[in-house]
Chain length 220, copies 2
Amino acid sequence: MRLSVLLFDGFTALDVVGGYEVLANVPGMEVEFAAQTVGLVTADTRRLALHAYRTFDDVRHTDILYVPGGPGVAAALNDTALLQTIARLHASSTWTFGVCNGVELLGAAGLLAGRTVTTNWFARDRVAAWGAQVGTQRYQRDGKLLTAAGVSASIDAALYLAACLGGDALAETLQLGIEYYPAPPLNCGSPDLASPRAQELVRAFETHGAKRIAALKAPF
Amino acid sequence: MRLSVLLFDGFTALDVVGGYEVLANVPGMEVEFAAQTVGLVTADTRRLALHAYRTFDDVRHTDILYVPGGPGVAAALNDTALLQTIARLHASSTWTFGVCNGVELLGAAGLLAGRTVTTNWFARDRVAAWGAQVGTQRYQRDGKLLTAAGVSASIDAALYLAACLGGDALAETLQLGIEYYPAPPLNCGSPDLASPRAQELVRAFETHGAKRIAALKAPF
């Protein structure tokens, strides 16, 4: 079984690695990282870079199409090669897995009309504009479409997918493998219950995300 | 403030990215990825690679020394350059942050005698052999030494560190930024409460970790 992670400039690393760390350890899973061209793809902080060793064109078919989010989504919404790759691979995927505001890219690729999804807390309106029913769940399945809320929700969604693929015992084993018995030091209700000040700060940070990453130079 | 993540062959990606994603977004944080040589460093799956753009020698001082774990730790325990770098940077760090069985590397670097730490569930005995008191906490602070349990515990530990650095309001904002309101689909007590079958499988997997990664070829 093949898991293809599509990378684009300005992705958020935990959007990728949260789900990858679970799914890459499913027995028999073949993981690949693909981008428009082979080489380093730089994350939103401009300090972390992942190596894409396949081009979009190299990937003719995949079982699990994985689309992360990040501040780079704003520019990626105009990236025809990326959107066409998403639409093309979704046509024959067994699962299509969108994380965080990467779910917007699924919308731009024409996948979301009438579908029920979740997404990053701050991206709900934008995802709804693609015709989706947007909930507040940590992860949401609608047929073969699996969507995760923001960033770290990729872990929970991937464990859910692992249980779909191989049963609860597999998912429990993978959960132990990544020791996912979370104990955040602070309040842990839901994004909607975060303090107004935190909500304001994160919204401001994300609103200027594209400008912010454009202003940062990678030191490599 | 500088965060220096030390990479070595066969690290586990979520050990790195869990803590990085929290700490890189602390205002004013300068993140760097260092390894013995500049270039790609391949994770345990042999499918993911991170770019190290500093050498160990390039890093003369850091504020937060970050040491991940992974199946590569078995070989890294004999990597003198890595161990000397850990000891050297720890001497003047403000914080030293060990994740998962990366805590064994802190032991091998001579940092753990008489210290109270946590580590990956399966590595407790090996860490105790370096003279540490090893608990079962998700994260543990002893002076400037902060240790995290396995893999995903790097997120919880980093949120704790963020609260130490900038207060609870900062940590809450970062928590919202990565939308860390975990909801694992299955049981979520503690590693020690995982099913005997899952414990047996993960122990077997980890026992052969070094051999397993040696047998996998990266496709790049």
